[in-house]
Amino acid sequence: MSSRDPLLSIERLTVRFGLSRVVDDVSFQISAGEKFALVGESGSGKSISALSILRLVDGAKTEGVIRFAGEDLMAKSERQMRAIRGAEIAMIFQEPMTALNPLYTIGNQIGEILELHEGVRGQAVRERAMDLLATTGIADAGRRIDDYPHQLSGGQRQRALIAMALACRPRLLIADEPTTALDVTLQAQILALLDQLQADMGMALLFITHDLNLVRRYTHRVGVMERGRLVELGVTGEVFSRPQHAYTRRLLDSRPQRQVEPLAADAPVLVEAQDVRVEFITRRAWFSKSSLAAVRDATLTLHRGETLGIVGESGSGKTTLGMALLALQPLAGGRIGIEGQRIDGANRATLRAMRRRVQVVFQDPFASLSPRMTVGQIVGEGVELHLPELSPAQREARVLEMLAEVGLSEAYGIADVLQRYPHEFSGGQRQRIAIARAVVLRPQVLVLDEPTSALDVSVQQQVLVLLSQLQRTYGMSYLFISHDLAVVRAMSHRVLVMKDGVIVEQGEAQALFEAPAHPYTKSLVGAANFA
């Protein structure tokens, strides 16, 4: 093998499950020391392409040539492949909690690879494992090595996983959505770590991701996949500045764009929350309880027609605050009022009247619709409850009208939508159903809890556009909860930043993102680094 030859070369790779071609005629090469990204939306076949390099795809028919360091991987026996997996080509996964075995310490799990591939034994294993953990930036590696996965934080687990992958100094590291499950500040740290390790060890990196920012910042070359096909391949900078294929252009355009219309100066205050405190009781033993404050001293106002963004990392209390405003979470202190009417501790009748005025859309469109109800029942349920004066025919007309408004009707090629069940729809369409269920009641306030986080980028943009249209039509106020700063920036008039249950900063959206005052906001904005 001459030094010019690529490290990995894939020619005409096709992967079939039964009749469906999940990967269709894909060819690309990765040179030693190169950082390459396969980017695409869910179902584009990017993960399957990567897994088939290691021949880890079960039940599929694979055709094509996969050459690694001059050798044909397709021709190797299962036994020979095992020697390559983990040693020559290593992999890190999206969800570090499930990729680590909860019954072994991380030291054991790193050691296992060393024992398997390099035949290291005894105390040497432990020392090597400790070195690796230290290399990946885990503080106090000597103590952490005996920890079980659940004792580590999310970022530490991902570091441990990277340590495992690097144990045998692989020549190619496949990173399948390595940072998607992590908070933004952690994402930046993990990517910086990968970058530095890649430079130190000279290995090639194959990123599988849907995150365009990551691709642009961290990779040399990029391949864009759409429905199993590699539609564009080139140097990252060029692909981003001069995209050739229509799909790439669409993908690049689908980064959230600002949709906010200026708010009327005299917009009245709709929601007012003062010193809101939410506590969770954790039971230590039978009669001893301790409480944990998930939200402390949260004070906010929401005007009519305004979008208030709430950003923060997981565990910051932003969702809990949203649930408190929906009166789904009892308060431990403070008060919440809608147009001057207290809703905390309100009686049943007041609460029910309030329910119609404050509605919610959740993150996961697969969990937020009951799988055993038709779309007609799901959207019609609230109408039946809150507008009992409508006849069944009027009710159905109203539901159909709402569904058409969110883009689910015959005009959009979806026949008899009322009779269908949620599982017959795609993620984006299901999120539209969830939006229809909330907006059909004509609420004044809509709590949007990560409404686009589970969606692909191109769908995300469509849903954001739909939400702003609905806001203009009905003059609703939005409480937009998200960890994605780009989305919040695109949608919000004002933004609250939460950390550990406390609102650390708030202000007008553009100003806050351009000149953050609080150090935590600065680190968030720095990590997210939008263009």
């Binding site: 179902g43 789904l328 937020s368 619709l369 799988p371 008899d416 069940y421 009641l441």
Partner: protein, 347 residues
């Protein structure tokens, strides 16, 4: 995930579940066999009865199966209900112009042939196709009626046990907290009451009837299922569609009934056939031990006991055993198919 199904053919989930059920051939044919057997046993009076369906005596018509006339109407000496095996009556109906239409098997589950020559239990003959039991009752009739009693009892016990189990599990799982804590402790206490001794005590105080057995067995039969339902409810009540329903302002009753319960039925459906078979077995074993129903009620368990004490009378133990095994096997096969039907991952 595809949004649109193949051309116009949009089946509701129920229809799809039925299609999955049918695809399990064994389970589907078992369902048919079981349904036919149940139907036949429900009409047992019309198939196996000591009284004829229709009798015509000197131009006078009667329906003895509904209302048995006294012997005097047919030229007998006593005003007692007619015994249609009495040689006198048989002789009278042999005269020209008189006739009767008997059922296929002319024995009922409790009728005795007082004019029989052989000692009981009698081996199979033209009159008693599978012989008689140790008292002299016809085995075919006994099995047919016994099957019916077993199945109907099992249906009732399964229904009551499932309803109680779902209700208890739903309340604990949905409300959680204190309700759950108290409920669980109560179940632990309840579970430690020895069921069998209770049955023995009750059997010695009262004459056990099907109703008493149903009540006693139901008191304990719901506990196992309630744990599964509770776990499903605990999981489902935290899902987002339930939160959305709460944000909509639905009452707890509406949320349980429309949102949580339909999504928590998987263990209930899966266990249903197995609960059926264990209910059948419960009745059989109580009757076998002599703690069950009195011998006037046709019962498979009692036949097993007779078979044990009359081992030479093979015609008692083998057919009874065959009926029991067939019923339990059919239910198990149906159960397998049901599990397929409710496994939505099987497209």
């Amino acid at each position: 995930m595809t949004a649109v199904n193949e051309a116009g053919q949009r089946l509701s989930p129920n229809q799809r579940a039925w299609a999955r059920f049918k695809r399990n051939r064994l389970g589907y044919s078992s369902l048919w066999v079981f349904a036919v057997a149940l139907l036949v046993s429900l009409g047992a009076e019309l198939l196996s009865n000591d009284r004829p369906l229709l009798a015509s005596y000197r131009g006078h018509w009667s329906l003895p199966i509904l209302d048995n006339p006294p012997e005097t109407s047919y030229g007998g000496d006593f005003a007692t209900p007619t015994d249609w095996r009495d040689p006198l009556i048989v002789e009278r109906f042999a005269e020209t112009g008189n006739w009767m239409l008997r059922t296929i098997n002319s024995n009922s589950a409790t009728s005795l042939d007082y004019f029989q020559k052989e000692p009981n239990p009698a081996p199979p003959s033209a009159k008693n196709w599978l012989g008689t039991d140790s008292v002299g009752r016809d085995m075919v009739a006994r099995l047919l009626y016994g099957f019916r009693v077993s199945i109907l009892f099992a249906f009732a016990l399964t229904f009551v046990g499932t309803a109680l189990g779902v209700a208890a599990g739903a309340l604990q799982g949905y409300f959680g907290g204190v309700v759950d804590l108290a409920g669980q402790r109560l179940i632990e206490v309840w579970n430690s009451i020895p069921e069998l001794y209770l049955l023995i005590i009750f059997a010695s105080i009262f004459e056990p009837s099907l109703l008493l057995l149903l009540v006693l067995l139901s008191l304990f039969g719901w506990i196992g299922l309630s744990d599964y339902v509770r776990a499903e409810f605990l999981r489902n009540r935290g899902l987002e569609f339930v939160k959305a329903a709460r944000a909509m302002g639905l009452t707890n009753r509406q949320i349980i009934w429309r949102h949580v319960l339909p999504n928590s039925l998987t263990p209930v459906i899966t266990f249903l056939p197995f609960r059926m078979s264990s209910s059948i077995l419960a009745l059989v074993s109580l009757d076998f031990l002599g703690l069950g129903v009195p011998s006037s009620v046709p019962s498979l368990g009692e036949l097993v006991r007779q078979g044990k004490s009359n081992l030479d009378a093979w015609w008692i133990i083998f057919p009874t055993f065959a009926v029991l095994v067939a019923a339990l096997l059919l239910l198990t096969f149906i159960g397998d198919a049901l599990r397929d039907a409710f496994d939505t991952r099987k497209s």
